[in-house]
């Protein structure tokens, strides 16, 4: 019972972290600039202004956008499938479908974060990675652990 609660809490935490990483525009930060994946926030005259992203390799940026969104979708789907499988799975079986969805989410966020690291902001001298970038990699680790858990876990035989 405790294990079930722990897994569900961890899964929900992962969902929240992935959503923050995907939605909040803070993959790259500089003094008074917070950018990616969807827009750019500039702080000038004590006000934050939102502008479009310019001068990025469009195809790579859109690939990162797509994979981040897909990672969120798959991990949320995995939660629903896990809850469904809790009731429908025969005893002693493994949660494979949930595990598959979760590993796909893991692959997606890994692909997205890797493309971001390799192709965007490669030659920028000032600025660094923001909290969304860090959260993306943390979510990669968490989704991987969760996927392994679902592949190993068996429903209790009673």
């Amino acid at each position: 019972m405790l294990m079930l609660a722990a897994i569900v809490v961890l899964h929900i935490t992962t969902i929240i972290l992935l959503l923050v990483a995907a939605i909040d525009n803070a993959w790259w930060v500089d003094n008074s600039v917070s950018a990616d994946l969807w827009g750019r926030w500039d702080f000038s005259n004590n006000v934050w202004h939102y502008t479009n992203l310019k001068g990025y390799p469009e195809d790579y940026l859109q690939a990162v956008q797509a994979t981040s969104v897909l990672a969120c979708v798959f991990t949320i789907l995995a939660l629903f499938v896990f809850v469904a499988q809790l009731f429908t799975l025969p005893k002693g079986m493994r949660f494979t479908f949930t595990g598959i969805l979760q590993i796909i989410a893991c692959l997606c966020i890994m692909t997205g974060a890797s493309i971001y690291t390799a192709k965007l902001h490669v030659n920028d001298t000032s600025g660094g990675y923001g909290h969304c970038y860090i959260l993306a990699w943390i979510s990669f680790v968490l989704t991987f652990i969760l996927a392994l858990t679902y592949f190993i876990l068996r429903k209790k035989k009673e």
Binding site: E58, Q62, A63, V73
Partner: protein, 213 residues
């Protein structure tokens, strides 16, 4: 009833000619093209009158950032006059069919300076009151990727594949289960038929006195 119909038709015939004096001109809204390519700017019109022999088409061009328009094409009296002095000399060709109300022109070998607004004005005497229609031309060096196209494509394809795989998986399970079920039913059914045929021989004839009405 008949008089009512006659009255309405007379009224309509009276109203419609008033509105039919306006000619409606159609061009595109915006056209995108690559440097060095050709583009066809289409222009057609709608008019309640028959296409007259004095139909005229004229195209004017206003470069981006300029306030002046320059006339680049005129069709009148059955002859087309293309630009031979302006920015489009030797690059403009008339590809329309005035008889079919089509006054389209073809711009060849586009340059970056050709960005601007092209206005088509058509007149179909006596239908001359109308608003000219404009089409904006945008010339690119490289086709730009529109916002979100790749994102949407990746997301759509992956989710579509997921749905497809799940559907196929459940379909296979359903079909396999059905085949197994139908096989067992047919075996069961054969056994039942043989059993019932053996019993039908010695069935006694129905006693009429026992049949209740």
């Amino acid at each position: 009833m008949l008089t009512f119909l006659a009255l309405t038709s007379v009224v309509l015939l009276g109203i419609v000619p008033e509105q039919s004096q306006a000619i409606a001109i159609y061009t595109g809204w915006e056209r995108h093209a690559l440097v060095g390519s050709d583009i066809r700017l289409s222009c057609s019109f709608f008019s309640w009158r028959w296409t007259s022999e004095d139909v005229t088409f004229s195209w004017t061009y206003r470069p981006d950032g300029s306030r002046d328009s320059i006339s680049i094409f005129h069709y009148t009296g059955g002859a087309a006059y293309v630009d031979n002095k302006g920015p489009f000399r030797d690059r403009l060709e008339f590809v329309g069919n005035p008889g079919r109300r089509d006054g389209s022109i073809l711009l060849k070998n586009l340059e970056l300076n050709d960005n601007g607004t092209f206005t088509c004005d058509a007149k179909n005497p006596p239908d001359i009151v109308g608003r000219p229609s404009s089409v904006r031309l945008l010339v690119f060096e490289k086709v730009p990727i529109q916002a979100g196209v790749i994102t949407g494509a990746i997301i759509g394809v992956v989710l579509g594949l997921l749905v497809l795989i799940v559907v196929i998986y459940y379909l296979m399970r359903f079909l396999v289960a059905r085949r197994v079920f139908s096989l067992s039913v047919s075996k069961h059914g054969k056994k039942k038929k043989e059993g019932s045929q053996q019993r039908q021989g010695p069935v006694p004839p129905a006693d009429p006195s026992k049949i209740k009405v």
